[in-house]
């Protein structure tokens, strides 16, 4: 038996999605472990990294910015440059953008995850949304199982998740490089910009961006909370079809593809 990919889920003080992130990692067929921010020794030996959601360092100054200055991030960045996959979810995505790993064209922060613009609830907003996968990818490590334009339900849970940039050409560049991985959409895949389809006012409905190589992805919605059918709400037909059938409820929901894809990527490219 070849060794399973081994993934570190990094816990910075204040994160709170490390457990469910680890569960999704394990269920996808990888090994993994929650690694505290101060357990830096040997962290480079892991095959991939998940930076989970939460409020690392209390989101002091700006969401994700202090975590991105934590020494462990330099190691993660180095390993990412060696091709290892890094998945930043929600607060983890904010840290990746602050570090500049995503979009990663200039090795500095080129975008920002700004406070939501949401006509219904100001500040933190938790709700189910849909995202649409890419038409074609740049070999992104997290969409190997995603069908063309596939629509995936996931919850969002953030106050600062609006992808913006003041570099007018950046969005075009990202589109050209196929770095825009997931966009907020309706159930039917329409990427209309109005609320509630776009829940935070992100430019071009951006929900997830990867770096140019495709091995680092910063995603604002939570795939780890949408990886099993039982986690889906009754607005998703798959959930209603599965009610009363425990095997069906425990089975994978579409967002699990992201973790399965990470596994496949490591198996093919890293180990």
């Amino acid at each position: 038996m070849p060794k399973k990919p081994n993934v570190a889920v990094i816990y910075f003080p204040g994160n709170n999605c490390e457990e469910e992130s680890l569960k999704a990692v394990l269920a996808s067929g990888m090994d993994g472990k929650i690694v505290r921010w101060n357990e830096r020794k040997n962290v480079e030996k892991f095959d991939g990294f998940v930076i989970p959601g939460g409020w690392a360092y209390e989101d002091r100054i700006r969401a994700g910015v202090i975590a991105s200055k934590d020494p462990v991030f330099n190691t993660i960045n180095k390993e990412a440059e060696n091709g290892k996959p890094v998945l930043g979810i929600c607060n983890g995505a904010q840290a990746l953008v602050e570090y500049g790993m995503v979009p990663g064209l200039k090795k500095k922060a080129e975008m920002s995850l700004a406070p939501n613009i949401n006509p219904f609830v100001s500040g933190y907003y938790c709700a189910w949304i849909h995202v649409k996968g890419p038409e074609e990818t740049n070999g992104c490590a997290f969409t190997k199982f995603t069908e063309q334009n596939e629509v995936i339900p996931m919850p969002i849970a953030h106050g600062e998740g609006r992808y913006i940039t003041n570099d007018k050409e950046l969005i075009d560049k990202l589109a050209k490089n196929k770095q825009i991985v997931f966009k907020f959409s309706t159930k039917d895949g329409k990427t209309e910009s109005k609320f509630p389809t776009n829940p935070n006012g992100a430019m071009n409905n951006i929900a997830a961006i990867c770096n140019k190589k495709g091995n680092v992805m910063a995603i604002m919605p939570h795939p780890e909370r949408a990886s099993f059918v039982r986690q889906l709400p009754d607005i998703v037909e798959l959930r209603n079809k599965s009610a009363g059938n425990i095997a069906a409820m425990n089975s994978f929901a579409p967002a699990m593809q992201i973790f399965k894809s990470m596994r496949k990527y490591i198996e093919e490219e890293i180990t």
């Binding site: 409020w55 849970a157 039982r230 709400p233 607005i235 409820m249």
Partner: protein, 780 residues
């Protein structure tokens, strides 16, 4: 009596008038009688530190001095599924067996009413913070919270303050719970003018623990010489007198001076503290170490350390100079009594102390997380049953530990107040469409999405049904197929009219809500929010409320047994009244916890299919007192819903069995807003995205049309696939329940027919607009 080494307060030498003045000047809430009782009890004048200790311990909040005897007399607390009744920080009820081991659901239920009225954000946030500690300190994994909230009239005389308080309370709950990362899976919100000057902010928390891993809030056996360790935030002067403050009547003029009694929340530190504590649990279990662990809440270090030691007949010797403080020159009575948040007490064998300190201070770096935070040894458990506090090498407190923890009792007098409520004479409405829309738009009925979408409802990844989608929230339990359901209830207007039947309804509705998702109601908790117990009428209402919840629990029973539904935890909050002395509506807020053996069977309220059949159980009666329909007509009425215990029991059991047999597609109880509201909400679903309508025939009842549509008599409506009709009928026949076939799901409208005439004919978009806007408007 033990000696002390500081000045005494010479109570003996003071006249009553002088004593009263002294107590007021020093912000001691003890009565003159009680202060003199301290002298009698300890056999000498007390030190100032000792006086403050009794002040806190004899507050209503800590001592239950007015309520304890009644609770003990009336409330049923025993049933075969109870693992731990209401004696420690939380109660524990059986979940079931996982891999041969018995597991329990840990439940705690508290109020943070006064702090939330004064500084709503911090008050509500620290309410969440406190309840998490109550559950964690049983050795449990925290899995969920829920918040029952009562606010004033958003269109009344205090509307600006009411809206401010409501919004800030919601933000405070979100700000704390979201950051720690505990899903909020339910709760309820009611508005009415009795809460204008005194909101109610209750909070419920659930945890899961293996029975053999329970950690108790008392020192383990042979703990003599064990270390007393405090862990968490550095002590400051915040919340000094908080427990005493909870037992004062709020006066708007004093709002500023009361602010100091409210604690400061730190969810960031708590996030790390909880994870570090899980690591301590794991290590102690691995090494087979027995520990005592207690929340540090009301009464601070003094209350937590004295109770944890005296419960196992030990004493304690504590050096307050060893307490990590964040302010210079704090006097000993503040260090001892301050209610600084995010702290716990450990009772720890000294050979494990190093490991415990390392986990908090090195592995999780608490001192780097928050200035001065960490775990520190502050004293020892002693065989002599004295409570001794030192400060700067002087003994500042030395009294028998039982004198502190035993508390005080007051016999209160009750006297029934005049209640001259009358049934209104209402004309039958010409336009039932309009009547239904105004009921759906009522803030007590309308969707609470604007509140719970501030809350993290999906964190931890275990929510099977989260807030808003059904009558109760449901979580999957790790490593098992079990589901846990939770719902809170209490209709304040019913209780205003009738404190007994209002209380009965609170229990019945909470059980219905849990049953409506398919869970078997397993245990109850109560948070009893009432006025001033020294007021005989308020105390009468309290007594009637306790009698009501107790009778309901006894008669509604734990499913399939003769045992009552057990109360496993609770809280009493008195002195909830306006500055003019008017008590809030009696509010025995009930939380019901339920268990599903197979979580996958849980169902939501949203209609799932076109062409399926809708049924009603529960007779519609002319009992609209306290109803939303009367309220939209500016009436309150006099006859509240009366629960027929046998029929209620059968209905609830039948619904649980029907869902367990996969016979129902969706289910919703009939309560606020009546039958027409229930069906409207089923059409819309929690996210108001439903597009399947229904056509209902109202000819099954002789009740006047508006009363049939809006009566809040107990019942359920459910949706059944046509292929299951005969199995369904057999099951309900077994329980001797009449099934009323209401009609079919179909189209995109809600239609009610009576005598072949359409009395309601509304497109789902109209229902959606009213139902989604009402609560939003109340908060704006």
């Amino acid at each position: 009596m033990g000696g002390v080494e500081v000045d005494l307060v010479d109570i003996k030498a003071m006249s009553d008038r002088e004593l009263s003045g002294f107590l007021r000047k020093n912000a001691v809430s003890l009565s003159v009688f009680e202060a003199k009782r301290v002298v009698e009890l300890i056999g000498r004048n007390p030190t100032l530190t000792e006086l403050y200790i009794f002040n806190t311990q004899w507050s209503e909040h800590s001592s239950y001095k007015s309520s304890r005897s009644i609770l003990k007399e009336l409330l049923p607390t025993k049933a075969p599924n109870v693992i731990l009744g209401p004696v420690e920080d939380s109660g524990i009820v059986e979940l079931g067996y996982i891999d041969g081991e018995r597991y329990g659901i840990v439940v705690s239920h508290e109020s943070h009413n006064h702090p939330s009225q004064v500084v709503p954000y911090e008050g509500a946030a620290t309410g969440v913070g406190g309840i998490l500690r109550d559950v964690l300190c049983m050795g449990a994994k925290i899995i969920a919270t829920a918040d029952p909230l009562r606010f004033g009239n958003p269109n009344g005389k205090d509307k600006n303050r009411v809206k401010y308080v409501a919004n800030e309370v919601i933000n405070g709950i979100a700000g704390y719970g979201d950051a720690v990362g505990i899903p909020n899976i339910g709760g309820d919100v009611y508005f009415n003018d009795s809460f204008d000057e005194n909101c109610l902010v209750n909070v419920v928390c659930l945890g899961i623990v293996k029975e053999k891993d329970i950690i108790h809030s008392f020192a383990p056996e042979s703990a003599e010489g064990y270390d007393i360790i405090i862990v968490g935030k550095a002590t400051d002067n915040s919340g000094f007198g908080g427990a005493a403050f909870a037992s004062l009547i709020l006066d708007e003029k004093d709002r500023e001076s009361n602010r100091g009694a409210v604690q400061v929340p730190d969810p960031f530190l708590k996030n790390v503290l909880i994870r570090a504590t899980y690591a301590v649990f794991e290590e102690a279990r691995k090494q087979g170490i027995k520990l005592g662990f207690k929340d540090m809440g009301a009464g601070g270090i003094m209350c937590s350390t004295s109770e944890v030691c005296s419960s196992s007949d030990f004493g304690a010797e504590i050096d307050l100079s060893k307490v990590n403080v964040s302010m210079k020159d704090l006097p000993p009575y503040i260090i001892a009594n301050s209610e600084t948040q995010e702290r716990f007490t450990w009772i720890c064998p000294s050979d494990f102390t190093k490991t415990l300190l390392k986990i908090y201070n090195k592995d999780f770096e608490l001192p780097n997380i928050s200035l001065g935070a960490g775990a520190f040894v502050i004293g020892k458990v002693t065989a002599e049953q004295d409570y001794v506090l030192r400060h700067n090498n002087q003994i500042v407190c030395n009294v028998p530990i039982n004198a502190i923890t035993e508390g005080i009792r007051h016999e209160r007098i009750k006297e029934a107040p005049r209640r001259d409520f009358k049934e209104p004479i209402l004309k039958e409405p010409k336009d039932c469409n309009k009547a239904l829309l105004s009921v759906l738009r009522h803030p007590n009925v309308a969707s609470k999405a604007k509140a719970y979408k501030h809350y993290d409802t999906s964190v931890m990844g275990n929510a099977v049904i989260s807030s808003g989608y059904a009558d109760a929230g449901v979580l999957k339990v790790d490593n098992s197929s079990y589901g846990v359901a939770l719902k809170t209830d209490c209709n304040p207007r019913y209780c205003r009219i009738d404190p007994y039947w209002g209380a009965v309804n609170a229990v019945a509705e909470s059980m219905r809500n849990v049953a409506a998702v398919g869970a078997t109601p397993s245990a109850l908790t109560d948070c009893l929010n009432y006025g001033n117990p020294e007021n005989q009428e308020a105390f009468y209402d309290f007594y009637e409320g306790v009698r009501g919840i107790a009778d309901a629990a006894k008669h509604l029973r734990y499913k399939g047994t003769k045992f009552p539904m057990p109360f496993i935890s609770g809280n009493v909050s008195f002195y909830n009244e306006s500055s003019s002395g008017k008590a809030v509506d009696p509010s025995p807020v009930i939380a019901c916890v339920g268990v599903l053996k197979d979580y996958s069977k849980a169902i939501t309220m949203k209609i799932k299919k076109e062409g399926s059949t809708l049924f009603l159980i529960g007779k519609r009666k002319d009992e609209l007192g306290g109803s939303v329909y009367y309220d939209v007509n500016d009436e309150i009425g006099a006859i509240v819903p009366i629960i027929d215990f046998e029929s209620e029991r059968n209905m609830t059991s039948a619904v649980v069995d029907a869902i367990d047999s996969n016979l129902l597609l969706s289910c919703h109880d009939v309560s606020d807003g009546g039958l027409a509201t229930t069906i409207s909400e089923m059409i819309l679903g929690g996210d108001a995205d439903g597009r399947i309508g229904a056509e209902i025939n109202l000819d099954f009842t002789d009740l006047r049309t508006d009363k049939a549509l809006f009566s809040e008599s107990s019942g359920f409506v459910f949706e059944v696939d046509n292929q299951n009709l005969s199995r369904l009928k057999t099951l309900f026949k077994f329980y001797k329940i009449d099934l009323v076939e209401l009609g079919k799901t179909d189209g995109t409208k809600l239609i009610f027919n009576k005598n072949n005439k359409k009395i309601i004919d509304l497109h789902v978009d109209k229902l959606k607009e009213a139902w989604t806007m009402g609560f939003v408007e109340a908060l704006e």
